[in-house]
């Protein structure tokens, strides 16, 4: 790899950081703490810049985001930032990722601007989300707005559908009946047990009979690694709240208007704390931008209310027949297929939240 032991000047070296080395990890934690930052969970890869033995800068990557970037105060405003960013961008490039996001404090906005990043949105002076494409969100919105449908009641639903259940179908059908048109955004980050391609296929097949809907790829700006990283990992509730606010502000300010959305439908969330909190924040933020939130009670059947997490639980415990009454035919058929069996196997092997 390019960044390992890559000597730049005779003083600074860039090295890969392994967090399982206690001493190194402590150095990273100290440096982050001095900069009022904490170490994120589930980082993919981290590097450090050293002046001799001293760690003077650190940064990490996770998905298409750059994280936990900190520079020792004595070296701020020097070329160390260039060196660090250059290394991180290169690491991402090796993974074929060129559209990058950085999640940082508003005080660091200028530095990242200098490194070619552009502000997308900020949450009450706590975090700021930036991207390295000048036209990133704009071109996403331009593409979206081509699907604009005019009407008095245009609705939106965002779903992960991991996997697509009768509950999701119920929510879409309800919105479809009450609206002129419904835009369904499918969370496209591939972090859930069911990969995006499968989730998309099951939503598409399961909603074939509904005429007034458009399916959209959620992309980088809706519940993604960039806008809402804690959706995929259990995090402290304050962090979840900030992330949710960021995600919903982007939805309300940019995505909603580009499609002329009047209301967003969401299913009530009695089980998952993160999603519950997300819904609460949604009810606070969206109305400020003129978008109504319709929270719909979950569809109940004999065996209780329907949820994708229950379906995954049934899968994990091997009660596949039980799922039948919870999911549309397409989903059930898929689970019986070869590809479906592989996913079932994967879920049974490692039980995780999403």
């Amino acid at each position: 790899m390019i960044y390992e032991g890559f000597t730049v000047t005779k003083d600074f070296t860039v090295e890969k950081i392994y967090m399982d080395e206690k001493k190194t990890k402590k150095q990273v934690l100290d440096l982050l703490e001095k900069n009022d930052l904490t170490l994120d969970i589930g980082l993919e890869d981290s590097v450090g810049v050293y002046d001799g033995e001293n760690l003077i800068a650190t940064g990490s990557i996770k998905g298409n985001t750059l994280r936990c970037i900190a520079i020792d105060q004595d070296y701020q405003g020097t070329s160390v930032l260039n060196l660090l960013m250059d290394t991180l961008v290169r690491m991402q490039y090796m993974r074929e990722r060129s559209h990058l996001f950085v999640y940082t404090k508003p005080t660091a906005q200028k530095s990242f601007q200098f490194m070619g990043f552009h502000k997308i949105e900020e949450v009450n002076e706590k975090v700021i989300l930036m991207e390295n494409k000048m036209d990133g969100i704009k071109s996403y919105l331009d593409r979206l707005s081509k699907h604009e449908v005019s009407g008095d009641k245009i609705s939106a639903i965002v779903m992960n559908a991991n996997p697509f259940t009768n509950g999701h179908l119920y929510l879409i059908e309800r919105a479809s009946k009450e609206s002129d048109h419904v835009h369904v955004f499918m969370v496209s980050s591939d972090i859930s047990s069911f990969p995006y391609s499968v989730r998309k296929q099951l939503i598409t097949e399961g909603t074939k009979h509904i005429k007034n809907i458009t399916l959209h790829e959620g992309g980088d700006y809706i519940i993604s690694n960039a806008t809402f990283p804690s959706y995929f990992i259990k995090e402290k509730s304050e962090i979840v709240k900030i992330h949710a606010t960021l995600d919903l502000k982007i939805f309300a300010k940019y995505i909603g208007p580009s499609l002329g959305i009047h209301q967003r439908y969401v299913g009530e969330e009695p089980y998952c704390e993160t999603t519950h909190q997300y819904n609460q924040v949604m009810k606070m933020i969206l109305p400020q931008y003129g978008i109504d939130v319709k929270e719909i009670a979950r569809k109940a059947i004999e065996d209780g209310t329907i949820s994708a997490s229950k379906v995954r639980d049934f899968i994990a415990t091997g009660n596949i027949e039980k799922i039948n009454s919870f999911v549309p035919e397409a989903t059930y058929t898929f689970l019986a297929s070869e590809e479906g069996k592989k996913i079932i196997h994967k879920i049974q092997k490692c039980k995780k939240r999403h």
Binding site: S79, M85, D86, G116
Partner: protein
């Protein structure tokens, strides 16, 4: 020449230029330039990028360049490398193109 994948070359070090070459979904050449000397040399830098692309017969492309005061020869070399990578010719350089 058709861009196949995103190609990158250069660094963000002083006196260098970091160039990313991407497929353009629409027709034409689009350049996003960010430079420490944009006011003085912005047009000149874009000129060098355009000329290099033209020589390589690249018509539809998005160029994202972050310049840190690179000389024209550096700009040219970085654009060439990034393009070569984006057309998967990095290891079989087509010298006729350069």
């Amino acid at each position: 020449m058709e861009i196949i994948k995103t190609g990158m070359a250069g660094t963000m070090e002083s006196s260098d230029i970091h160039v990313i070459i991407e497929k353009n979904e629409e027709a034409g050449i689009k350049i996003f330039l960010n430079s420490t000397v944009e006011k003085q040399f912005g047009e000149q830098i874009e000129g060098v990028i355009l000329k290099t692309l033209k020589e390589m017969d690249i018509i539809n492309v998005v160029v994202r360049a972050m310049d840190r005061g690179a000389l024209d020869c550096t700009i040219r070399a970085r654009v060439q490398s990034a393009v070569m990578r984006s057309i998967l010719k990095e290891n079989e350089l087509d010298w006729g193109l350069l």
